[in-house]
C-alpha cells in the first residue's frame, strides 16, 4: 500500500464542493419550513421604550413578530468567558436593555425570506439612548485575576529594570491592532425543527458537541433529544464556535410558531450578532547587549472587552515563549467599551501580539546593528524561557535558513531605502511565526470490514480545512487501504466525542484517536488469528503483534496483511472506539471536553513546551507617486511535526499567509465613534486581499519529528501561517522607506508624507 501520510492527497470532497453538490447546514430544508429575520438596534447603549410591530405583522407573508415581550420559552446559556458555551454573557431580547449597536431586538417569522426581511425592516423601535464608547481607552484598563504566577495575567522572571539598565540598546514601542471580523463566505445560519420535545438544529458549527450539550441544558432536555447537524462549514475562523443569540432565537421562534424556521443572517448583521477580533494595544520594552542577546523583555497587552465579559485571549503567554532572556515581565490587561463580546479569530492570541513583538525585534536588531535573522538566531532557545522546560521540538532557525535561501535574503540591501525598481521603493522584511500545540481529548469510532472498507465516525468538523480527507488518510495508512475505501462521517453531535475545531487541534487530537482505533482493530484481529491452528500468526503472543501500515507483524518476522487476517474474524469486521488521552490531560480537562467544553492541555506541560514554528519573509514595494503598498513576494517556511497531507497543509499555511497580508494591508472594521457603531459592514468596503494582491506566495514545509505531542507527531497548522506576516510586511516597509508603522493596517494614508 502506498504511503498515504505526508503525501499530497486531493480532498475527498473537492468535486462536491466545486460543483455545488456538497450540502451545507442551510441547504437542509425541512418540510413546512418558515423563514426568520432579525431587526437589530440602531443605537449602541440605552433601552427600548417601545416596539411597534403592527406594520411588520401586516406585511403579506409575515407569520409572527417576536420581541422581548412576546417570545415565549426563549432560553440562554452562560457565556464562554464565564465558563459556559455561549458566545456572550449578555443575551439580547431578555429585556429592554441595549448594550451594543446591532443587537437583535425583534425576530420575524414569515413564509419567505424576502417577507421576513421586509418585516424586520418594518419593525419600528423607540429608544432611550445613553452615551456609548466603541473604542477602549488603554488608560482605563485593568488586570483580570491578577496574580504573580506563570498561569496568571502577570508574570515576572529575573529583574526587568536591571535588564533594561544593563542593556546596550533598548526599544520602547507601542503598537495597535484594530477590530476585525471573520467574514466567512458561508453566512451564519440556523435551522430549527421541533417534534414534540425533540429538537433538530442544522447550523454551521465548529463544535457540534458544544451546541448539543448547551442547547439540551438550556431546555432541560436529555442530550439524546437534541440533534445538531453541521455537515460542512463554509469558513468559520472562530466565528462559529459558541452558542449565539441568533441560534437560540431561531430555536425559540420555531417552538413558538410550531414550524421549522431557518434564519440566514445578513452580511451587515454578521458584524454584530457574533464575535470578532477585539482591538488591542501592544507595548514592548526590550533590551539587548552588544552581542545582540536579549537582557530585558517586557510585553504588556491591553485588549478591548465589552462591559459584560472579560475577553482574555492571553497573547503574552505566547510571546514569552519566543526568545531566551533572563529578565522577563508580561502583563495581560483589558479595557472596556460598548460592543458585543469579541472572541477568537484565527490566531486570536498570536496575530496581533506577534505584529508587535516581531516589529520591536526588527527595530532592536537595527539598533544593535545585526541582520534581523541573525538577531533571532542569537536569541533562539531550546528551553521555554519562563516555564524552564524543553521544547518538544523547535525548528525556528531551520525555518529561517530555509526561507532565507529560497527568498534571496542575502541580496537584501544593508541600508534603509537602498533598493528601488523604477517608481517603486523596495524593501525586504522577516518575522517569526509560532503557534501553540493545544491538546484535547478525543474519541473516534473505527470499523474495518474484510471486504476492504473502513468507516470512521466522530463529532469533528470540516471547517474548510480538509478534515474529512485527513481522517480518511490516517485510517487508510494504518489499515493499509486506499483513501477512497475509508468513509468518514463527522459534523453531528451524537457521534463519538471529538474536540471543538478551534486552537488548531483537530488534526492532532482527533487524528490521534483515529490512529488509536486502527491500533485497537489490529489488536483484536491479532487475538483471533493468533489463536487459530493455522496461519502465519498462529500461536504468536498477540500482545507482541504490531501494525505496520496494513500489515500485522509478529515478533519473529511473521506477517499477514490486516485485510487477509480480517477474513478469519467470524463477523468479517471489527468495530472499536479509538481514544486519545495525552498524559498532560488531567481528569478535569477530559471531563470538560466530554461535557461539551474546551478542556485543552498545553502548550506547556510539566515536562515539555509544545509549539510549531516558522519564519516568513516579505518583499514590499511602495509606489513613489500613488504611495500604494504592494507585496509581490511572500515566502514562509514552517516546521510542525508530521504533515498528514502536504496539499491541504500547504493550503492552510498559504491561506494563513494571505490572511496575514490582509491584516497588514487591508483588514479593519471601521468605526463611527460618536454613535459607537461599526461602519463598513460589507465585503465591498471591509477590504481583504483580492487575487491581484496575492502574487508569489511560497510555502516550504520542513521535516520535523516530535514523539511527545501525540502518536502521529502532528502539530496544528490552521493558524500558524497568519502569525508574523504583518510584522514581516511592516519590517519590509521600514527597510524600503525608514517608516516604522505601528498601527494595523498599513494604508496609503500612512505612507503619504504630511
Amino acid at each position: 500500500m502506498a504511503q498515504t501520510i505526508n503525501t499530497e492527497v486531493t480532498r475527498t470532497d473537492a468535486r462536491r464542493k466545486v460543483t455545488g453538490t456538497a450540502s451545507y447546514a442551510a441547504d437542509m430544508i425541512p418540510a413546512g419550513m418558515l423563514h426568520g429575520a432579525m431587526a437589530c438596534s440602531a443605537i449602541a447603549v440605552g433601552s427600548v421604550t417601545s416596539i411597534d410591530t403592527s406594520a411588520a405583522e401586516a406585511e403579506p407573508g409575515v407569520v409572527a413578530v417576536y420581541t422581548h415581550e412576546t417570545l415565549p420559552d426563549y432560553k440562554t446559556v452562560k457565556g464562554f468567558y464565564a465558563g459556559g458555551p455561549g458566545s456572550s454573557s449578555f443575551w439580547p431580547m431578555e429585556g429592554t436593555e441595549i448594550r451594543y449597536a446591532g443587537q437583535p431586538l425583534a425576530y420575524v417569522v414569515a413564509e419567505s425570506a424576502a417577507a421576513a426581511r421586509r418585516g424586520a425592516d418594518l419593525v419600528s423601535v423607540e429608544y432611550s439612548e445613553s452615551g456609548a464608547a466603541i473604542h477602549m481607552d488603554p488608560e482605563e484598563s485593568f488586570v483580570v485575576g491578577a496574580g504573580e504566577d506563570s498561569e496568571g495575567m502577570i508574570l515576572t522572571k529575573g529583574d526587568l529594570q536591571a535588564g533594561l539598565d544593563g542593556a546596550s540598546q533598548t526599544v520602547d514601542m507601542t503598537f495597535t491592532t484594530p477590530f476585525q471580523h471573520h467574514n466567512p463566505m458561508e453566512m451564519f445560519a440556523a435551522t430549527a425543527e421541533w417534534r414534540g420535545d425533540r429538537l433538530t438544529v442544522w447550523m454551521p458549527s465548529q463544535s457540534v458537541r458544544t451546541l448539543r450539550a448547551g442547547i439540551a441544558g438550556a431546555y432541560g432536555l436529555p442530550e439524546t433529544s437534541v440533534r445538531v447537524i453541521s455537515p460542512f462549514v463554509g469558513g468559520a475562523f472562530g466565528s462559529k464556535a459558541g452558542i449565539t443569540p441568533y441560534a437560540m432565537l431561531t430555536i425559540a421562534a420555531s417552538k413558538a410558531v410550531g414550524a421549522p424556521v431557518r434564519l440566514i443572517v445578513t452580511r451587515p448583521q454578521m458584524y454584530t450578532v457574533a464575535t470578532f477580533r477585539p482591538e488591542t494595544q501592544q507595548r514592548f520594552r526590550l533590551g539587548a547587549d552588544a552581542e545582540g542577546r536579549l537582557t530585558a523583555f517586557e510585553h504588556v497587552e491591553t485588549a478591548q472587552t465589552p462591559r459584560f465579559d472579560d475577553v482574555v485571549n492571553p497573547g503574552t503567554h505566547i510571546t514569552r515563549a519566543m526568545y531566551a532572556c533572563p529578565n522577563i515581565r508580561t502583563e495581560q490587561r483589558l479595557s472596556r467599551s460598548d460592543t458585543n463580546t469579541g472572541g477568537f479569530m484565527r490566531a486570536p492570541n498570536e496575530m496581533q501580539t506577534f505584529f508587535g513583538l516581531e516589529s520591536a525585534m526588527d527595530a532592536l536588531a537595527l539598533k544593535v546593528g545585526m541582520d534581523p535573522v541573525e538577531f533571532r538566531r542569537a536569541n533562539d532557545t531550546m528551553t521555554h524561557p519562563t516555564a524552564d522546560v524543553p521544547f518538544s521540538s523547535r525548528s525556528l532557525m531551520e525555518s529561517y535558513d530555509a526561507v532565507a535561501q529560497g527568498f534571496g535574503w542575502s541580496e537584501r540591501g544593508r541600508e534603509i531605502g537602498s533598493m528601488t525598481d523604477g517608481d517603486w521603493l523596495v524593501g525586504y522584511g522577516c518575522a517569526t511565526a509560532t503557534y501553540p500545540t493545544n491538546i484535547l481529548a478525543s474519541n473516534a469510532r473505527v470499523r474495518m470490514q474484510a471486504t476492504g472498507s473502513a468507516y470512521v465516525e466522530l463529532a469533528a468538523h470540516d471547517v474548510g480545512t480538509g478534515t474529512y480527507t485527513i481522517m480518511a488518510q490516517v485510517a487508510a495508512a494504518r489499515l493499509g487501504l486506499p483513501v477512497e475505501a475509508v468513509d468518514v462521517v463527522m459534523g453531528e453531535g451524537d457521534l463519538p466525542v471529538a474536540p471543538i475545531s478551534g486552537g488548531s487541534t483537530t488534526a492532532a487530537s482527533a487524528g490521534s484517536a483515529v490512529h488509536d482505533g486502527c491500533m485497537k482493530i489490529a489488536r483484536q484481529v491479532a487475538e483471533v488469528v493468533s489463536s487459530m491452528a493455522e496461519g502465519p500468526l498462529a500461536g504468536v503472543d498477540p500482545s507482541r503483534v504490531t501494525l505496520d501500515d496494513g500489515t500485522l507483524r509478529g515478533p519473529d518476522g511473521q506477517s499477514q496483511s490486516l485485510a487477509e487476517a480480517l477474513q478469519m474474524v467470524p463477523e468479517g469486521e471489527v468495530e472499536v472506539v479509538g481514544t486519545f488521552r495525552h498524559p498532560a490531560l488531567t481528569p478535569e480537562l477530559i471531563h470538560a471536553t466530554f461535557a461539551g467544553g474546551y478542556g485543552t492541555a498545553g502548550p506547556v506541560t510539566p515536562e515539555m513546551a509544545m509549539f510549531a514554528f516558522g519564519a516568513e519573509m516579505a518583499e514590499v514595494r511602495i509606489h513613489r507617486y500613488t504611495h500604494e503598498i504592494r507585496v509581490p513576494r511572500l515566502h514562509g517556511a514552517f516546521a510542525a511535526g508530521t504533515w498528514l497531507n502536504r496539499k491541504t497543509s500547504h493550503s492552510q499555511l498559504m491561506g494563513g499567509m494571505v490572511w496575514g497580508m490582509g491584516s497588514a494591508l487591508h483588514e479593519v472594521t471601521e468605526t463611527d465613534t460618536p454613535r459607537a457603531r461599526f461602519l463598513n459592514a460589507n465585503i465591498a468596503e471591509y477590504l481583504i486581499p483580492v487575487n491581484a494582491d496575492v502574487r508569489e506566495v511560497r510555502v516550504e514545509m520542513l521535516e520535523e519529528r516530535d514523539d511527545y505531542v501525540n502518536p502521529l507527531g502532528v502539530k496544528g497548522i490552521g493558524e500558524l501561517g497568519i502569525v508574523g506576516t504583518a510584522a514581516a510586511i511592516g519590517n519590509a516597509i521600514h527597510h524600503a522607506t525608514g517608516k516604522r508603522l505601528t498601527a494595523l493596517p498599513f494604508r496609503i494614508s500612512d505612507m503619504v508624507s504630511a
Binding site: 437589530c40 438596534s41 440602531a42 449597536a101 446591532g102 424576502a114 426581511r117 421586509r118 425592516d121 451587515p268 517608481d423 509606489h623 513613489r624 507617486y625 500613488t626 504611495h627 500604494e628 504592494r630 494591508l665 487591508h666 471601521e670 468605526t671 463611527d672 465613534t673 460618536p674 454613535r675 457603531r677 461602519l679 463598513n680 459592514a681 465591498a684 468596503e685 477590504l687 486581499p689 483580492v690 487575487n691 491581484a692 494582491d693 494604508r747 496609503i748 494614508s749 503619504v752 508624507s753 504630511a754
Partner: protein, 332 residues
C-alpha cells in the same frame, strides 16, 4: 426590501413616460440600484428597466467625435481596441473600476450616476444623512469617520464623495451627455450634469424625473491619445480611489500645448483641476512643474481630519499621472 412593480419598456419614449411617475426609478445594470434597495436606502415603488433598449448599447470612435450609448457595458468599452488606441485614460478608468463581474453588467449611463459610498448614506441605522433623509443632518460632519470624504465641493450639509473613475476622464475632456425626458431631448455638458451638495444633497444631478441618459459624446482632441488614468487604492483591484487622476497631454516639442486633469476620490462631484492645467500650459513638463501642478490642484482643498492625507496624496498622483502620460509619448 420593499415590494415594487417592475416594467421593461422596449422604447425610450415609453421608458421615459413610465420613469416620470412618482416613486419610479430607472434601472439598467442594477449594480448600484439593487444593492441600495437591499439595504433599504432606496425604496422605489416602481422599477423601469431600460436594459431592453438595445439602441443604446452601441458606441463608435470617430476621427473627430466619439459617442457611447448609455447602455454600453463597462467591460465592452474598456476592452475595445479603438477606445484603447484613441483614449487610453478612458479605457483605464473603466478597467480600474469595480470588479470583472460588475463591469460585465454595469452600464456607462449607470456608472456616471453611481451613488456615493459614504457609510452614513448606506446604513439606515444612522438617523443623520441629508442625502438620504433631507434635513436630518450629517453624521460625517457630526464627529464621524471621514477618511472617505470629499475635500472639494462639500457643504455644511454633506461631504459625501463622488466615487466614480470614468467620470473623471469625461469631465476633463469636455464630454457631453444626451438625454431624453418627458420634455424631449437635450444635451448637457458633463461638467454640469452633477450638482454640488449645497443645502440639499439629495439632489445629485440636473436630470428631471423620467429623464434618461441616452449617450455620452466626446470631441476627439490630441491630448486624448497621450492620456492615462492613475488610481491610488489600498488594494490592487476592486477598491475605490484614495485619489486618482485622469490626465491627457498635448506637447509642442518640450512645451505643454494642452493638458487635461480630472481628479477622482477627492470631490463631491466629478472634478476638473483647471488651475493646475493652466499652470502647465506653455511650460516644460518636468518633475518639478508636474509636482507644482499637483500642488496647485489641491490649493483650495477643504479637508476634514480624516481626509487631510488626500491633499499630499492627490498632488503626488497628479504629478505621477502627468509624468506617466509624458513617458507614453516616447512610444508613439
Amino acid at each position: 426590501m420593499k415590494n415594487f412593480t417592475y416594467s421593461r419598456p422596449d422604447a425610450v419614449g415609453a421608458a421615459t413616460e413610465a420613469a416620470a411617475a412618482d416613486g419610479a426609478t430607472i434601472i439598467a445594470g442594477g449594480t448600484t440600484m439593487v444593492d441600495l434597495m437591499k439595504i433599504g436606502v432606496l425604496e422605489p415603488d416602481a422599477l423601469v428597466d431600460i436594459s431592453g433598449l438595445s439602441d443604446l448599447e452601441g458606441f463608435e470612435v470617430g476621427s473627430d467625435r466619439m459617442r457611447f450609448g448609455a447602455l454600453a457595458k463597462m467591460s465592452t468599452v474598456a476592452d475595445d481596441q479603438a477606445v484603447i488606441d484613441a483614449f487610453p485614460a478612458l479605457s483605464e478608468s473603466l478597467w480600474k473600476a469595480a470588479s470583472p463581474q460588475l463591469r460585465n453588467v454595469a452600464t456607462l449611463g449607470g456608472n456616471i450616476l453611481q451613488r456615493t459610498r459614504c457609510p452614513y448614506f448606506r446604513d439606515t441605522a444612522f438617523a443623520q444623512c441629508n442625502k438620504r433623509a433631507p434635513g436630518s443632518g450629517c453624521a460625517a460632519l457630526d464627529g464621524g469617520h471621514t477618511n472617505l470624504h470629499a475635500i472639494f465641493g462639500g457643504s455644511s450639509s454633506c461631504v459625501a464623495m463622488y466615487p466614480g473613475d470614468f467620470a473623471q476622464a469625461l469631465v476633463a475632456f469636455d464630454a457631453e451627455v444626451s438625454t431624453r425626458g418627458p420634455g424631449g431631448t437635450r444635451t448637457i455638458p458633463f461638467a454640469e450634469l452633477h450638482v454640488a451638495p449645497g443645502d440639499d444633497p439629495s439632489v445629485e444631478t440636473v436630470l428631471e424625473p423620467g429623464e434618461i441618459v441616452t449617450g455620452i459624446t466626446l470631441p476627439v482632441i490630441p491630448a486624448m491619445a497621450n492620456s492615462t488614468y492613475l488610481k491610488a487604492r489600498d488594494r490592487e483591484s476592486y477598491a475605490f480611489a484614495s485619489a486618482s487622476a485622469a490626465v491627457g497631454l498635448e506637447m509642442d516639442g518640450d512645451t505643454v500645448r494642452d493638458v487635461r486633469i480630472g481628479l477622482g476620490g477627492v470631490a463631491a462631484t466629478p472634478h476638473r483641476a483647471r488651475a493646475a492645467e493652466e499652470s502647465l500650459r506653455g511650460q516644460a513638463l518636468t518633475e518639478e512643474t508636474a509636482r507644482e501642478a499637483g500642488r496647485i490642484a489641491f490649493e483650495d482643498a477643504e479637508p476634514l481630519d480624516g481626509s487631510a492625507y488626500k491633499i499630499a496624496l492627490g498632488a503626488d498622483v497628479v504629478a505621477g499621472a502627468l509624468l506617466q502620460a509624458k513617458s507614453r509619448m516616447g512610444g508613439e
